[in-house]
Symmetry: D2
Subunit: 292 residues, 4 copies
């Protein structure tokens, strides 16, 4: 450890398929411990690992670290992001050997991790969305997402009818399989498969992507992220649709009910190596440099 | 005329197919003249009309009016926009019976025009793009656009190879029929046919839409409008492509040369009736309320 | 009734929302009865109606009629199609006032119905698909469709991994929300919303449309309808997906299992008025003649 | 040479950028000559090469060979295809190190070329299109294509108005940048960039892909290849558009004039190695197996 690094105490997290990531966690642990960095683990990660370590409850991580290092894919980082935002912790993502949009340090790049700790890094603010769900005008629950909030059909029917409002303005009635409301971070994930555009991460905007709309001219719509989006489910749908955030936590939403999506005030502090370039990640992940 | 209306002196413009618009121009002229509003015409419009009127040179319009009323389609307003921006004149668009994205007063709504003049209106700032074209690093000319700057192939080959940079960052090499760089205003015009998203007019963003890209994952990219976009034509293209703005003024661009697109600092002051709603125009123009 | 009409005995069917269609059924019944055409109803339709009529069990319709007239939307005709094919009955669709792709007689066009009965009509053969579902190589059940067979995710995850084979050839591994395999008839329905092409009904082809594929170059694929398509669900999916036909009958399909889609040998005899034109229906339903 | 090989006399062709392909031509020549196969070259290829060889006029190739081996990319094979069809010669494509859709033998696979000559190969029939262009009802000229016939705008305006008929039926009026009419062979080329589906090569169908259509619901349309397509340019276009085949031979087409596209009766005999699989080429060329 250099004198007075930027990040002095590190939390390591990596839960998904620990058999694939234990080696990486152990390597990072060994490397940083050798440099005198104190390492902690959240309880859940700790319980899956087979080597001695210091564990703390998830909700107390912020008291024991300055930086959360997440080992895994973009999905792991999505989960960690909510914890990081709640505890105001910056996050560095280490992938499992294949570049992610959010996890841009390779597991063998231990030297880069050291550089980051010493202050040689880029920090980006990535915003999140919250969807507040109401039942008969009573607030029921809130779904959060770094990537996207999705309205999906329930079990039986695939077509949902709903009304979209942006700000106070009526946008349209839509008949579709659902709706994706994505952040710039999420614009290269599910929304991209659905035909949405790529939103540069520095953009303060969200994109509404209708899923399989019945009317072919219902195209993706990009709006200012300060606008709130209100969705009302039409009363005469055949099945109960649901709302999810980042592919998790499916909340059913009753016919006639409403949910409202807006930008959260807290943002994710996403840490990148100094050499990180957003467009380099795009080129690599989307195969733009492949010569077919 | 009420006491002290907001807009006291009016310029009328309408050049395209004057046989279709003379009736509308005459009706507006008669209606406003009866209310004591002084009316002027630019020379070119004046010369196409068959009734007595006061004409002034195009470049002196601002000295004789507070508001430019354009009769015609969106194409007419695109042309008038450059003049209006250069002379800091607000613009109101009157269509020829069919709603436009930019011309949202119907020709029979004379009362609405009166209300606008008296101060009952909405004003939007719509930004323009400029494309500065360089030959061997020397600035050659500038193309402006309210809708979009387009890079298109020349006569023979349809595939162009070029490199895109945003800010100082390399984005990608692209092989495509061309590239559309559109403002929010232009996002519902040519860029939409090319698969681009709809950008809300309040958004400070531009969208880059690759035209028929060879690599299918080259998708529309939305960036902050403050970023400048730099396009370099690869040296080994077979034909000389060209750059145009709003479908006008085609400037050839030599192989190896570069052009740079950025937001103009001056904006168009676009005047709408009080009742104008952007999403209502979208629904109408894109057929969202049709029941097929 | 003219001497020796082509269709001598008529079955009327119309179950969906009978309150909307009872008037139409009654009008057709009155009109044809006055011309001495014997009319029967299937039991289910009959039970929803409030006027005296002759009813026969659904499976015996063919013994009592030469033509099945279905009143309702395209969805009603989709359901009736399976019965008609099983009993080799031609079908004429009467819509509820809004043109359908399959129901092209308007309810007020009683004279056209008479002309059809007298032999003045066009007949098209529309083919159906069957999906045979296997569990551990044992055939479990069969799903049929006039429009499309769809592989959809189950409740939790939205991404499915599966392998596609056409004929004996491996096509690709796919990660997507699902897959639509559509007939020409279905190409203007759900598959069109999913980005598929329009297949002319005379074409002996099916289209495979990946739903929200993870790899953007996974595009719709049109193959000869004689080829059979085999889908194997990858063993490591997180949720159990299901197979449906024409939006009905959802059959869960276990991880590792397979289903095979092929053209049925029996076709639907779809009856149109003499004046029917396929492209006229396309123009009307897709809004091609709208002037926006 | 084995006793009695299937192809006894070989013509070698490779004109594009001969500096890149001379080594490959020389290697094939040496390999086959050593096996006693007589080799000829067309005059144009011969003149670009620097080693001794036997040359014959292009139009007499068929009298001197049983198989035309084309070295180059898909573009080279497109050009050779017209000659091969005119002279009823089968064609084998050897790429320049990067797989093509039509050139599927790698330059180092000399043993595979020998196997093909000895009869170990697959043969496919690929059909071509012809576009007959009429001026004031007089036939002017014919454009042929293995990939696609394209209607493109001339210099100034990018929007063309035209009417499409298929068979004797009016399809629609279209306002677009143009129209691509592609064969299955061409469906993975320009038409794919334009949003068209992939048509399996065994399919007897063509796809009409509107280019940047003004009406968003104007989607790709797949029709039977036996149908002829008739395009009439509307009289009131601003610029003279043109018709091209496989990116070559641009024929201007006057306002009000017509061209008719139909399948040619002669087909291309395309030779593949025994191990060739169409879907393997798709996976490779479209990056379907990439793990991003």
């Amino acid at each position: 450890m250099k004198n007075n690094p930027t990040f002095k105490r590190i939390a390591l997290m990596g839960r998904h398929q620990p058999n694939h990531i234990e080696d990486t966690l152990r390597a990072i642990d060994g490397f940083l411990t050798a440099q005198q960095y104190p390492i902690v683990y959240d309880t859940e990660t700790a319980q899956r690992l087979s080597y001695p370590l210091k564990q703390v409850p998830l909700e107390e991580l912020h008291a024991h670290c300055d930086l959360l290092v997440v080992v895994g894919g973009d999905g792991s980082l999505l989960q960690a992001a909510k914890i990081a935002v709640a505890q105001s912790l910056p996050v560095l993502g280490v992938n499992r050997g294949r570049l992610g949009f959010l996890t841009d340090v390779y597991p063998h790049e231990l030297a880069i991790i050291a550089e980051v700790l010493e202050g040689d890094y880029q920090e980006e603010q990535r915003f999140l969305l919250s969807a507040e769900i109401f039942h008969e005008s009573q607030h029921i629950t809130t779904v959060e997402a770094l990537n996207e909030i999705v309205l999906s059909p329930g079990n039986i029917a695939h077509m949902i009818e709903f009304e979209i409002r942006v700000g106070d303005q009526f946008v349209c009635d839509l008949r579709a399989d659902g709706l994706i409301v994505a952040t710039p971070t999420g614009s290269t994930a599910y929304a991209l498969s659905g035909g949405g555009p790529i939103l540069h991460p520095a953009l303060n905007a969200v994109v509404l992507v209708p899923m399989f709309p019945h009317t072919l001219s219902n195209r993706p719509l990009v709006i200012d992220a300060q606008s709130h989006v209100e969705i009302q489910i039409t009363a005469n749908n055949e099945a109960v649709p649901f709302v999810s955030g980042d592919g998790q936590k499916r909340i059913p939403i009753a016919l006639g009910d409403t949910f409202r999506i807006q930008k959260k005030s807290d943002t994710l502090r996403l840490i990148h190596p100094r050499s990180y370039q957003y467009f380099q990640t795009l080129r690599s992940k989307l195969g733009w440099q492949n010569k077919h």
